[in-house]
């Protein structure tokens, strides 16, 4: 997987770049907007990571130019501003996701993976989702495990559906807040942990093999038993 990183903060870029390389991606780095635009036009990448504030060509202008040329590559916008407006502007300009600095590397990796999977169509859009003996019927709004019915609240159902559509993919707290609760800011208390532990109680309790896992320092994942972490 080829990723183009356009970031003027060299040290931050090195950190992000090595993190991405460790995760198995190939990374090319450009330190300003003009070089980034040229690179994005010259070669085909699977993903662009673009800082909003760049010398020469602004990050949003860069994305706008690429979108105008019909380049569909998913873009993750990085920003030091982080207000609601700034996020809306970033997405409106053609960004696919938005991350405020400073962020944990794990958050970035989770979002990169989510964007790449989405771009490759690897998100399950079927009506019945299955992970091992856990089954979620989207239309009937029914969840069973090992044939036993599990009662969930509407939000727990939504949470489980989101996780099951991304089997084996780490999902962070902020991703859940954004997608399930439509909140694009961090509440001060860690609410998601409580919701996840209630969901875990519901689907894993009394079963030998747990399916819902917490990844320390990054987020949560639903995994087939025996799948590599």
């Amino acid at each position: 997987m080829q990723i183009l990183l356009v970031e003027d903060d060299v040290e931050a870029a090195r950190h992000v770049g090595s993190g991405l390389q460790e995760a198995g991606y190939e990374v090319q780095h450009c330190a300003d907007g003009a070089a980034g635009l040229a690179a994005a036009q010259a070669a085909r990448f699977d993903l662009l990571i673009v800082d909003r504030m760049l010398p020469h060509v602004d990050g949003l202008a860069l994305i706008g130019a690429l979108r105008q040329q019909g380049v569909p590559t998913p873009v993750l916008v990085l920003s030091a501003l982080g207000t609601v407006d700034d996020r809306v502007e970033g997405l409106r300009a053609g960004g696919d996701d938005y991350l405020v600095k400073p962020f944990a590397l794990a958050e970035l990796l989770a979002r990169v993976e989510a964007l790449l999977r989405r771009a490759s169509g690897d998100v399950h859009h079927v009506g019945v989702l299955r992970v091992a003996d856990l089954e979620l019927n989207v239309l009937a709004r029914r969840v069973t495990r090992g044939g036993r019915e599990i009662a969930l609240t509407a939000k727990e159902f939504q949470l489980l559906e989101y996780l099951m559509r991304r089997v084996g993919q780490v999902v962070t707290r902020t991703m859940l807040l954004e997608s399930v609760w439509n909140l694009h800011f961090d509440p001060q208390t860690n609410l998601i942990d409580v919701h996840i532990s209630r969901l875990r109680q519901a689907i894993d309790r009394g079963f030998e093999v747990p399916l819902l896992h917490t990844i320390r320092g990054s987020g949560y994942v639903i995994r087939e038993p025996g799948a590599a972490p």
Binding site: D9, A12, V84, D85, F103, A154, F185, P187, Q188, V194
Partner: protein
């Protein structure tokens, strides 16, 4: 003019002018009318008196026979000009004149009489008003009068003209006043609308000028210069904020990056590892405070993105659902009463943050076993979002200052918190033209936000 238009001071002024001018014009024209009438009456009397003098002269010179001759001649010559004569002898027999009988007079005034005579004109019976004087000449009675029809017609026309004059003046005044007050009201409304947009954060807006260089233009021009300066200053503050955010987040980002990469190489059970994790957690808090500050600055500056319809009731229900497990873990009873939709025009994320800040505060400060309740009430014009708890509350004296940034109660100093939560709530309420009230919930705190609905 309807009642609301009278609320405009220019409309009131125009109405006052209208009344003044109408009264003035009425007095003037009516005086002219009355004076004309009097002058004409006098003229009639003078003509009659002159005629009587001349007839007396004839009587004195030539006796009764001469008078009769003169009268006969006058009746022939002037009969058509409207002169009326009648001479009776002491027995009441007619000696001369063009009246067939002594007129029936209703109200004699001294020697003057007014009565109607009927004459046949073109086969029709027509009544003519007559004014006449009565003279006694040695037992004979002489009546000399004149037909008033022509004069009455003239006075009638004058009266109609006068009344029309008054009515036209009033109509013209009313029209001018209406136009004037509409024009002024229109300009004031334009200014008010522009001000509303400016108040809601659109600092690039200016008051309308119509290049007439009148007082309104001068005032608007002065206000616009003032707005230029305010906009310039606000832009400078915003730019400072943005670059501060950028300049702070850059180093914060690098600190986090370094810590993360070092943490990567340290075994999980090492003491250094927990120190670094604690540092990362502190970094998160710094980051949250910074985010909150920026969000307050943004809300104060107008919110940026265009407002959209937001259902406060749905927002309250969803956030309550989000906080319910957390509240349950702390043993707090969290209840929501938000059944009917309450639509306001606003910024979804900022309103959500307002709600979460209030809920977080309540859940943070209410002890286990306590109650937190969030209510949304929709009225016709206003929607109210109320978060009440039975926790320690805020002392009366401190309520106002709690809305300022970084203000915290001394008793809460040990608890985590930035002291920005309520400031953000206040900024968001202001942005949405709402009203924020902190009050005693007997016991506890009750925060009520009232917003205008769509």
């Amino acid at each position: 003019m309807s009642a609301p238009r009278l609320r405009s001071s220019t409309a009131r002024l125009a109405l006052l002018y209208l009344c003044g001018v109408v009264v003035g014009v009425t007095a003037l024209l009516w005086t002219v009318f009355l004076l004309t009438q009097r002058a004409m009456d006098r003229q009639v009397d003078l003509v009659i008196q002159t005629e009587i003098e001349s007839l007396r002269e004839d009587y004195r010179g030539g006796g009764l026979q001469r008078l009769v001759d003169v009268l006969d001649q006058r009746v022939d010559d002037w009969g058509r000009l409207g002169a009326v004569y009648l001479l009776l002898d002491p027995q009441g027999a007619q000696l001369a004149g063009n009246l067939s009988s002594w007129p029936h007079v209703l109200a004699p005034q001294g020697e003057w009489r007014e009565f109607d005579i009927s004459a046949s004109e073109h086969g029709r019976e027509v009544r003519h008003p007559v004014r006449a004087a009565l003279v006694a000449l040695d037992g004979n009675r002489l009546l000399v009068g004149t037909d008033l029809s022509e004069r009455r017609r003239f006075m009638g026309r004058l009266r109609t003209t006068t009344i029309w004059g008054i009515a036209l003046t009033a109509a013209l005044m009313a029209l001018t006043g209406w136009w004037f007050s509409r024009r002024v009201a229109g300009r004031v409304r334009g200014v008010a609308q522009a001000c509303e947009r400016i108040i809601s954060g659109d600092l690039s807006r200016r008051l309308p000028l119509d290049q007439s260089f009148d007082e309104f233009d001068q005032l608007a021009g002065a206000v616009n210069v003032m707005l230029d300066r305010i906009e310039h200053q606000t832009a400078a503050v915003r730019a400072t904020f943005n670059s501060a955010a950028h300049d702070l987040r850059g180093p914060l980002h690098r600190i986090r990056a370094r810590l993360e990469s070092v943490l990567h190489t340290v075994p999980a059970n090492d003491a250094r590892s927990s120190a670094m994790e604690a540092t990362l957690a502190d970094l998160d808090r710094v980051q949250q405070t910074l985010a909150m500050l920026l969000q307050i600055a943004q809300a104060e500056a107008g919110g940026g993105v265009a407002p959209e319809p937001v259902d406060l009731a749905q927002l309250a229900r969803e956030l309550c659902e989000l906080y319910a497990p957390e509240a349950r873990e702390r043993g707090i009873h969290l209840a929501v009463h938000a059944l009917r939709p309450a639509l306001v025009s606003g910024h979804q994320q900022l309103l959500a943050q307002l709600c979460t800040n209030l809920l977080e505060n309540a859940i943070k400060y209410v002890p286990g076993g306590g109650h937190v309740e969030i209510q949304v009430r929709g009225a016709e014009r206003h929607a109210q979002l109320i978060v009440g708890d039975d926790g320690p509350g805020i002392p009366d004296a401190a309520r106002e200052t709690m809305l300022l940034p970084f203000r915290r109660l001394e008793r809460d100093a040990a608890r985590p918190g930035s002291g920005l939560g309520l400031s953000l709530v206040a900024a968001v309420v202001r942005l949405h033209h709402g009203r924020l009230e902190l009050s005693d919930n007997h016991p506890g705190l009750r925060v009520s936000c009232t917003f205008p609905t769509i």
